[in-house]
């Protein structure tokens, strides 16, 4: 199979993005047709990723690595993008033109797919920029909202500063190893190697909004439409984690300090995310902090150094992304305040049940996908002899139950029934998208469980 055939999913996404951008010229009067077109494109891309991912190949002179991890991440990215675009086709973003949003979503998805298979520092850096550049615009998509633009600005500045920091680190990696290919990376165990790895880790951790690079997230989440955050906070992280797995695979054996960096970020993220989420009354702020906490679990698995770690990390990010997207989509529909969610069960019982499934999965209640995610993470920590880390993780999961259940309490047991937003539009497409998220949350854990416990399969 030729090199270009192996990136057929990315080419499909690019072509779809261009089509969607100019779809108004053809599909006059049908405002949301662009999102439907985009959903079909993303679904096709996921299918092509399935087809193009057989075996382990390194096209473009080993600049990309299309292996099991890349295939899983590309399929997940394509499918979740399709789900989000179906929702977008049903509801719109509330502001602005759907086709612009759909174009940006598709381009970010394209970047994420490249991030997942990057096997060369230059490709990794460029792909990360491709994946995050559209996100700034999506965060500030409501261009008349000052809070949204402020959040976008904070995100942009942090992301740019950390990208440049990472680039600085990569220049050391290049200088020490003499090649930009992952395979040729020789940074050595000295101070220079640790310095380079620390700078590279800063960039990757910031893209995942792990502590201490999380401070932009709550403001950005709360200022922007919940619907655009449903994409921004979930889909790009899948590929980001796979990229981090790959980078850790290359650099951690050479620089033992990398594991310390990952574990420090993990502990900081888990503690800070869960504790800071507690007092939040805006679902978007709450999800911002809980996102930080969940990335902490991913880093915990990866930093443990156990052989189970990479698989657990990659599975956990999926177990975070699906229900998290679901929560944000429900919040986009039914209100982002705990007050507006009050009495949701009387207003829309099915939507309240979906919310319950998502939140319980994020807590880690069996048999939902979140339970299996946490199980594998703690297994990895125990396997590496880091029992205290597993204890911290479990304790913080209990804390997280506190704030997730408060959202549920508002939705199910609040006596005050809030009024339905008047301009609320109910469409089947949006319900289908949320339904898919529910099904994935219910079934993914059970479906993936035998796959991951098989020895040697653990995604890599």
């Amino acid at each position: 199979m030729g090199s270009w055939a192996l990136i057929a999913p990315e080419i499909t996404l690019l072509a779809t993005a261009l089509l969607v951008m100019f779809s108004d010229a053809v599909l006059r009067g049908r405002r949301r047709a662009g999102a439907w077109l985009g959903a079909v494109g993303a679904l096709t891309a996921a299918g092509l990723a399935l087809w193009a991912g057989q075996g382990e190949v390194t096209p473009f002179g080993a600049m990309l690595a299309v292996d099991g991890a890349a295939q899983a991440a590309r399929i997940a990215t394509g499918l979740l993008t399709a789900v989000f675009l179906v929702w977008l086709a049903g509801k719109g973003l509330g502001v602005g033109r759907v086709r612009h949003a759909a174009t940006l979503v598709l381009l970010s998805s394209l970047g994420s797919m490249l991030v997942a298979s990057a096997n060369d520092w230059v490709v990794l850096f460029l792909a990360l920029e491709t994946a995050t550049m559209p996100l700034y615009v999506l965060v500030g998509f409501d261009r008349d909202s000052e809070r949204g633009l402020e959040g976008a600005m904070k995100y942009f500045i942090l992301s740019m500063v950390t990208s440049v920091t990472m680039l600085y680190g990569l220049s050391f990696v290049l200088g020490l190893s003499g090649t930009t290919a992952y395979a040729g990376a020789r940074v050595g165990g000295g101070a220079m190697g640790l310095f380079a790895v620390a700078l590279v880790a800063v960039g990757l951790l910031a893209k995942l909004s792990a502590a201490p690079f999380h401070w932009w997230a709550p403001d950005a989440y709360a200022g922007s439409p919940a619907s655009s955050m449903a994409f921004v906070s979930t889909v790009p992280k899948i590929a980001g984690v796979v990229a981090l797995v790959r980078v850790a695979d290359v650099l951690a054996p050479q620089v033992p300090g990398m594991r310390v960096i990952l574990l420090a970020a993990a502990v900081a993220s888990v503690l800070l995310g869960n504790v800071a989420a507690f007092p939040q009354r805006d679902v978007r702020r709450l999800m911002a902090y809980s996102g930080v906490a969940h990335v902490g679990y991913v880093l915990l698995a990866l930093g443990s150094g156990s052989g189970l770690g990479p698989g657990a990390a990659a599975f956990y990010v999926l177990a975070y992304a699906v229900p998290s997207m679901g929560v944000m989509l429900v919040a986009a529909d039914e209100g982002t305040d705990l007050e507006t969610l009050a009495g949701l069960v009387r207003r829309r019982p099915w939507m309240a049940s979906a919310l319950a499934v998502f939140l319980l999965s994020l807590v880690g209640v069996p048999p939902l996908v979140g339970f299996f995610g946490k199980l594998y993470v703690f297994q990895a920590a125990l396997d590496a002899g880091l029992a205290w880390l597993a204890v911290v993780g479990v304790l913080m999961s209990v804390v997280s139950a506190g704030f997730y259940l408060r959202v549920l309490q508002a939705a199910f047991f609040s006596q005050r029934a809030s009024a339905v937003p008047e301009d609320l539009e109910r469409t089947h497409a949006a319900d289908v998208a949320i339904g898919i998220c529910v099904a994935a949350t219910l079934l993914l854990g059970v479906a993936a469980a035998p796959l991951l416990t098989m020895p040697g399969v653990a995604l890599r």
Partner: protein
């Protein structure tokens, strides 16, 4: 390739770099300072040409002389309201001289600590044509990704600045 560069163009270009930098520091008007900086960047591009680094000279002109200095002039244009705001004070205190001296000393020490071995010029310096051929063969994929990044920036800028559909 010769191991020496001719003295006359080297002296002219080095003089232009050093004098331009001094003039930039001494000019009170920030717009004048920006233009002196532009002159320094062009002279550095000339030094690159002298060392047969054609592509580096091209990038120097396009990125630094082109984009960066224009960015500075735009910043000046958009942030200064009145003509008098463009005047900046010239700091001649002992502290500023001390700082400049310390920086110079540090730079001289760093350069002095480099191994003194004479570096031979390579027999053949790759030119822009070879660079281009490599860019569009081995590095075609990163080039295409970079073009997608630019496309995204364009779409985003159009969305944020576009007037319709408010």
């Amino acid at each position: 390739m010769p191991d020496h560069v001719s003295i006359v163009p080297f002296a002219v270009l080095t003089g232009a770099v050093v004098l331009g930098a001094v003039a930039m520091m001494l000019s009170r008007n920030v717009v004048h300072a920006a233009f002196w900086l532009l002159e320094v960047m062009m002279a550095v591009a000339g030094l690159f040409m002298l060392l047969s680094a054609g592509f580096l000279a091209l990038v120097q002109v396009m990125v630094y002389a082109g984009a960066v200095s224009v960015l500075m002039l735009f910043t000046v244009m958009l942030t200064l309201r009145r003509r008098e705001d463009a005047e900046r004070p010239l700091d001649l205190s002992a502290a500023s001289f001390g700082l400049a001296f310390a920086f110079g000393l540090a730079a001289a020490t760093a350069i002095g600590s480099l191994p003194g071995a004479r570096v031979r010029m390579p027999a053949h310096a790759p030119g822009v044509a070879e660079f281009g051929a490599l860019l569009f063969s081995r590095w075609a994929l990163p080039l295409e990704i970079a073009s997608v990044v630019l496309l995204i920036a364009l779409v985003g800028a159009v969305w944020w600045t576009g007037g319709e559909d408010r």
